[in-house]
């Protein structure tokens, strides 16, 4: 999973690179359009198009029957039954393409979330960094947080109940390409982990900033949903590192719309628009 995540993360960075100077929503819309078109094409080739065409014809026929024979109860009920069957059949025919699509979409959404779900810190804005240690590591030499000069470590709380250490940090300046802000953690003399810190000069409301709130442990789901940084190995003294970034507010035409909603609306519209060209039946 770590290797796959690394490849996909790199790929996402490369795809988004041309949009770096543009408002963040531009990249979101372009990616949504491309995803919608690709989904329509994938649907075309992974579904029973002939069957879906028949179902569509059946639906039209049933609706027409209901209108024409509205005074004949038996015919209306028969048409309704036929409509019900057609709907079930459509669902059945849609399952294979949905199964095919759900895998790339989950990976895509998880990658997109690293850019659109969380808000980077602004200089002067404090955040909590929390490290969960294994019980063995907790009893060993103390874990230390080492931060660059641009980050002030304000205070620490060690919690022996769940083996966590929480630091409150406050970045004084934004991260740049030449000066990425990286936290490192040492046990005794040994560096055992690193974690990126996302700090943007504007607090990141309308710019593309990679923000990863969790460096996961061995959990499959955590690694799937937080693909931004490699998960810790089973023998690592650290189980996870998290940072409490806030949620990002995404606006489109002045309206606050969750990024995923924008993604789905735009991709659906793109798929509908491409429908006559790729000759796909939904």
């Amino acid at each position: 999973m770590n290797v796959l995540n690394a490849i996909l993360s790199k790929l996402t960075s490369v795809v988004l690179a041309p949009f770096a100077e543009l408002p963040a929503q531009v990249a979101l819309i372009v990616i949504s359009i491309v995803a919608g078109i690709l989904a329509a094409i994938a649907f075309r080739y992974s579904s029973n198009q002939a069957g879906l065409k028949r179902v569509a014809d059946q639906v039209r026929a049933s609706l027409l029957a209901m209108r024409l024979f509205k005074d004949d109860l038996r015919s209306v009920f028969g048409a309704q039954l036929s409509l019900f069957k057609a709907s079930g059949l459509r669902l059945w025919y849609s399952l294979p393409p949905l199964v095919v699509l759900i895998i790339p979409f989950v990976f895509l959404l998880a990658q997109m979330a690293m850019w659109y779900e969380f808000r980077p810190l602004a200089p002067g804005q404090a955040a909590l960094v929390e490290v969960t240690l294994t019980p063995e590591a907790w009893d060993g030499p103390p874990l230390e947080l080492n931060a660059p000069d641009a980050i002030t470590i304000e205070s620490t709380v060690r919690n022996s109940h769940d083996h966590t250490i929480t630091w409150r940090i406050c970045p004084q300046e934004a991260a740049t390409a030449n000066n990425p802000l990286q936290l490192s953690f040492t046990l005794g003399e040994r560096e055992v982990a690193e974690k990126q810190l996302a700090v943007s000069s504007t607090g990141g409301t309308d710019e593309l900033v990679f923000v990863c709130p969790l460096r996961p442990g061995t959990s499959f789901w955590d690694r799937l949903l937080y693909p931004g940084e490699p998960g810790f190995a089973a023998n690592s003294p650290i189980r996870a590192i998290s940072i409490n970034y806030g949620s990002r507010v995404n606006t489109l035409f002045g309206l606050e719309i969750p990024w995923w909603l924008t993604f789905f609306i735009v991709s659906i519209l793109a798929a509908l628009a491409i429908k006559p060209i790729v000759k796909v039946q939904f």
């Binding site: 759900i102 989950v106 959404l109 998880a110 979330a113 779900e117 969380f118 909590l128 929390e130 969960t132 304000e154 205070s155 620490t156 709380v157 060690r158 919690n159 022996s160 109940h161 929480t166 630091w167 409150r168 709130p213 969790l214 949903l225 937080y226 996870a240 998290s242 940072i243 409490n244 970034y245 949620s247 309206l255 719309i257 969750p258 995923w260 909603l261 789905f264 609306i265 991709s267 659906i268 939904f282």
Partner: protein, 699 residues
């Protein structure tokens, strides 16, 4: 970990059939504003003319001086009694207490039916009422869902001046006008109308603010003090779960006579074994705090625990109540001590409306950038400072006020930025509360002064006046030549050196009988009065009530005896002298003479106008007795204004010339209406006090 919300989002996403998602839009209708004039009134509670003039003479208030030089400045006649709810109600209604029927912070029901109370005190400006039919409810198991809800009633009578502005299409925005809770449910007219409730707004418990202190070294599990409670923390290995108490669980069905248990919210507190720092986890939110730090606002939810809350909640029944609090870490080692502010109503999910339109409170809160705002009517937690033991010391109290002022100032700047036309009122209340607390530090003769605090807080009030001057200067910046700028206060201030136990005096002079003269300082002191042997009783800060037959539950004085009794008592009270021979009472006012329309069920028969330096004792305010006739005021609450109205006027300063020598609060509403070309309504008695307008010279 900080990822639960994100997880939910992604899990939901993978399940949602995305072909069905489509947004919807709605559009609002805007009403054109008929006026281009901007009128800004800055309400600065308790700004005193004597102190203001002195500071203006010392050139410490350049913007007040500038505005006074441009237009006019005058002491501003206050209400009798000069208590904030009464005074602001005079302003709002353009009339006097006989119209708005507010006479004190505390009123009483003279004949509370079905209650053990001989007379029942209640807060004068608003009142909660239960459902019309309390038995109308669905009951299942231990749950009881009421099908009829009660509400809250604004007890201020009369017509608010701004109603006439809105009716005439004037854009009207009111920030925290006192004595104006709850806000109206609908706009009174066609003008754009926004109002945020202020003094009088309760906390989530329905009180004027109850703090909580979590403390490690308490003997008892909990201890209630006036204004809050202390709760013991049993810390084990540097970790403890503290339970913050909220309102009673209003959906639990309990046998008659029993109270439902209180809803609670858990706070997980972890202390670092070495450093003076803790983490506090509330719900999904985790904070790290060092000793001496305040949090921003934290949102908390008190859940009833009703099964199927999500579904029932979607049907419109509130199954939980939301509050916001701030925490202050007083001490980490050796003994944990954390102060929690009163449960302010969450402006985003208000348990009761605190603004009109209802969603406006959340918009105002968003301008602070602190995750919320103080919504309780009197947010300066003076009770925490005055409690025994102290929940906050003077420095900590000032920190809290500083945070409050910072929040209010941001809202003020936002209000000015959006003020394009019409009428804007913005209220500052900390001027009053700081004067109450720190007046003794300016008064060398105050008996409550402490040698160890000598010189430490002398300038707190004066600095606050300078801060208000800065706010006035900011108003200049946004006003045009044609606009009107008014700064005013509802009353002045003076030192509160000596408390007068009015009920002791009534006992000594044979007008009252009590069961036990030794019963001082206890709760529900009204039960100590033998009403059947009592002719007059004092309750509230200025009020005297005749125990009248046919009105009071145990009334003994007939209508025929009443006038003679009142004259006799007034004559004697005006002769009372303190131990040093100084006069205690300037004047006794006969309410029904001064306010002929006073409601006989509400209004006191007499109002006591004290001299500067004297006031009703704390025991008197609750209808109780104290030790002896007089007592030194050693309380931190060392300044006051509940004396004779003529001795404690407020101030008015404006770029409008004043046409009268004796402007008073009740004049301002009608005068503001005249500025917009609106005739004085018949319910108002105030005069148009404004003459020529002097241009503001571009600020």
């Amino acid at each position: 970990m900080f990822r639960e919300g994100y997880l939910k989002t992604l899990v939901l996403l993978s399940l949602v059939p995305f072909f069905s998602l489509l947004p919807s839009c709605s559009s609002g209708e805007q009403v054109e504003n008929p006026s281009d004039v901007k009128v800004l009134v800055l309400g600065m509670d308790g700004l005193d003319p004597i102190l203001l003039e002195r500071l203006m003479d010392e050139d410490r208030l350049p913007n007040f001086s500038r505005l006074a030089a441009l237009g006019d400045y005058s002491p501003f006649g206050t209400s009798m009694p000069p208590q904030s709810p009464v005074a602001w109600a005079n302003f709002i209604s353009g009339s006097r207490p006989g119209t708005h029927q507010i006479y004190d912070f505390i009123h009483r029901k003279p004949n509370p039916e079905g209650s053990a109370w001989p007379v029942q005190p209640f807060l004068s400006t608003s009142q909660a009422f239960g459902p019309a039919d309390p038995d109308k409810a669905w009951t299942f198991g231990r749950w009881r869902i009421p099908l009829d809800s009660g509400g809250i009633e604004n007890l201020r009578r009369g017509d608010a001046f701004w109603n006439h502005m809105v009716k005439n299409g004037i854009t009207t925005t009111i920030y925290r006008m006192p004595a104006n809770y709850p806000p109206p449910e609908e706009s009174p007219g066609s003008g754009e109308f926004k109002v945020l409730s202020g003094m009088g707004t309760p906390d989530l418990l329905g009180t004027y603010g109850e703090f909580t202190v979590f403390k490690e070294d308490l003997r008892r599990e909990s201890k209630s003090v006036g204004g809050g409670q202390f709760i013991r923390l049993d810390v084990e290995k540097d970790r403890v779960i503290a339970k913050l108490e909220g309102p009673e669980n209003y959906l639990l069905d309990v046998p008659p006579g029993e109270k439902p248990p209180k809803m609670t919210v858990e706070l997980e507190i972890v202390r670092d074994p070495v450093e003076d720092a803790i983490t506090v986890t509330v719900g999904d939110e985790k904070l790290l705090l060092k000793e001496g730090e305040w949090t921003d606002w934290i949102s908390i939810e008190f859940k009833t625990g009703l099964p199927g809350s999500t579904v029932v909640g979607a049907m419109g029944l509130p199954t939980s109540l939301h509050a916001i609090v701030r925490l202050y870490v007083k001490e980490v080692h050796p003994k944990l001590n954390i102060y929690v502010t009163p449960l302010n109503i969450d402006p985003v999910h208000p348990a009761n409306p605190i603004s009109y339109p209802p969603e406006w409170a959340a918009e105002v809160a968003a301008t602070t950038g602190m995750g919320g705002m103080y919504t309780a009517g009197i947010p300066e937690d003076t009770k925490a400072l005055r409690s025994k033991p102290q929940a906050l010391n003077e420095d900590e109290f000032l920190q809290m006020v500083h945070l409050l002022v910072e929040e209010r100032t941001r809202q003020y700047h936002d209000a000015l930025e959006h003020f394009k036309s019409g009428f804007l009122f913005f209220y500052f209340g900390h001027t009053d509360q700081l004067a109450h607390i720190f007046w003794r530090d300016m008064d060398p003769l105050h008996p409550g002064r402490r040698p160890e605090q000598e010189g430490k807080y002398d300038d707190v009030i004066r600095n606050t006046y300078e801060e208000m001057d800065a706010r006035l200067g900011e108003a200049f910046e946004v006003m045009d030549d044609n606009d009107i700028l008014i700064a005013m206060s509802d009353h002045g201030f003076c030192s509160f050196r000596r408390g007068f136990n009015v009920n002791n005096w009534l006992v000594e002079n044979g007008y009252m009988t009590v069961k036990d003269m030794g019963r001082q300082g206890r709760r529900e002191q009204l039960f100590n009065i033998k009403f059947k042997d009592t002719q007059v009783y004092a309750l509230g800060l200025n009020c005297l009530y005749v125990n009248l037959k046919g009105r009071e539950k145990y009334g003994v004085v007939s209508q025929e005896q009443r006038r003679r009794l009142m004259e006799e008592i007034a004559s004697k009270l005006e002769q009372v002298r303190d131990d040093d021979g100084s006069k205690v009472i300037e004047k006794i006012y006969f309410t029904f003479d001064d306010y002929p329309n006073a409601d006989p069920e509400i209004a006191p028969d007499m109002l006591i106008g004290y001299t500067r330096s004297h006031r009703a004792s704390w025991a008197t305010a609750l209808g109780g007795i104290g030790k002896g006739l007089f007592e030194d005021n050693k309380d931190r609450w060392s300044g006051d204004h509940c004396i004779a109205a003529n001795l404690v006027p407020g101030i008015i300063v404006s770029n409008m010339k004043l046409t009268v020598d004796d402007p008073e609060l009740s004049d301002l509403g009608p005068a503001l209406l005249h500025l917009f070309g609106i005739e004085t309504p018949k319910t108002m008695v105030g005069r148009n006090i404004f003459g020529e307008k002097v241009p503001l010279e571009g600020g």
